[in-house]
Symmetry: C2
Subunit: 320 residues, 2 copies
Amino acid sequence: MREPKDALPLRTNAAEPLLVVGSVAYDNIETAYGRGDYILGGSASYASIAASYFAQPRLVGVVGKNFAEQDVARLQTRGVDLDGLQRDESGDTFFWAGKYSEDFSSRETLTTELNVFEKFNPELPKAYRKTKFVLLGNILPQLQARVLAQLDDPGGAFVLADTFELWINTQREALVELLPRVDVLAINDSEARLLTGEKDAIVAGRKLVGPEYGLKMLLLKKGEHGSLLFHPEGLFALPAYPVTELRDPTGAGDSYAGAILGYLAAQGTSEFGAIKRAMVYGAAVASLTVEAFGCDRLESAGADAIEARYDELVRMVSFT
Amino acid sequence: MREPKDALPLRTNAAEPLLVVGSVAYDNIETAYGRGDYILGGSASYASIAASYFAQPRLVGVVGKNFAEQDVARLQTRGVDLDGLQRDESGDTFFWAGKYSEDFSSRETLTTELNVFEKFNPELPKAYRKTKFVLLGNILPQLQARVLAQLDDPGGAFVLADTFELWINTQREALVELLPRVDVLAINDSEARLLTGEKDAIVAGRKLVGPEYGLKMLLLKKGEHGSLLFHPEGLFALPAYPVTELRDPTGAGDSYAGAILGYLAAQGTSEFGAIKRAMVYGAAVASLTVEAFGCDRLESAGADAIEARYDELVRMVSFT
């Protein structure tokens, strides 16, 4: 197992690896501060790099014929296991172009070209099938289910799943069927309202972890307003790290999820207290991601910056 | 000193009284859940009732000839000292009518009749001038300054001031002049952005407590997303209590401020740790306020409900 130079001390050989399934993409991003073209993006890229500070990510995804060797190298330098990264020479890599409003309160999608991602069928290399920590990035719920079906012991794994508006609107049945099979659903507040038809995010959250949906835990993401974990042992609320140099919010949620799973894998546990600490690490890592375009700051942040923000967040919410 | 039956145990005779200056009003309120007419409202009413669980509020405000004896009695039952409440027989009490959108994300003002509030000139009874904890509710900044000038030792008092968009737009100079003379400015995030011209609330907050404005502390209110205290010793972030029975958000901010000042007065201190605990009490009290129209739930909540929500909030943010 390779370890990046600047991993956290808790990334040891005793740490469990984690599985990261999702998109690997090229993004064109435009903000009030500038623009970047053909930036390495996609949920699996952000989540893997974030997780790599804590434990070894095993990436399952697909790239096309235009995927650059230097981007393969970026992921390898972070110690990401790429045995599960398919290369489909029949087309280009998933491409997305978007533009953020001046105050980052909204974004407009300019282009989405699914390319090889359209036919993506996740296949787990044999060595991956025993992975105990699984991050199902935002892909079709049917594909997320197919990943779980390939695990040797899906019930013994700790599974966090992401989704988004499009699947809530178009793949509702498959998504709802998946919920009792995952441990945590990580979605934002508007998605929780859309999924349940409730106007209030807290009411929506309680409903999702209630008998109707049978979800174990809900991680409600509220961006700059932090996040809220609905856990069988109680609610946990965490503010966001107070970012003052916001440059590109792309990948914040994926970095958050990646760091959370990475921390849990490194600790080899999913008990409530560990998830709380994982969320603080996640908030620290996500705050670094958004301070530069794409994965740049996330990639270069280093363990010290992550630990410093972890400590700062803990101080920010403590009474003593 | 009178004590309401259901005050918190920390409301003792050793507790300092607090001064509450602001509006006393009648409100017509319309929400998706119903409507209420001529409800007792105004910043000073909400803040005084909230504070009354902790310490004795001394209310300075004005009411008109239509102010009902039963509303005087409501405040007296809460142990509010009304020696500073002026009655102006030349007109009616300040009247406001508003309508909330279905999901409470916005509200429309239908009517504002200032009535006797237009000529309001706060005058502190002699006994009030030594008060050490002062809440300057949302009135003209010039009137807030006039209150401070009437204190025997304004520098020795702990002063929290509220304001709003109208004064930021029309009384900017007077408001900015007031800032170095108060201890805490409590405003919401959009007001902080408006006041500083910054797009980001965190950047705006840091600027307000910087050399340009000379404010000691900023309490940034974010409604359902909690609040953030910019204190010389550091930031403190607190989530809101997870309300599921939102019925009328009117007075949430005033209850929040009232409970904070009430707690500090009861403790006779304004050190950082005490302000943090005061914010938790404030969030607990504000969450009760919004569960019914006007002051109804705030008035009837009782010490046990407040303590229970305080404990729940502390658990929600704790790691152990």
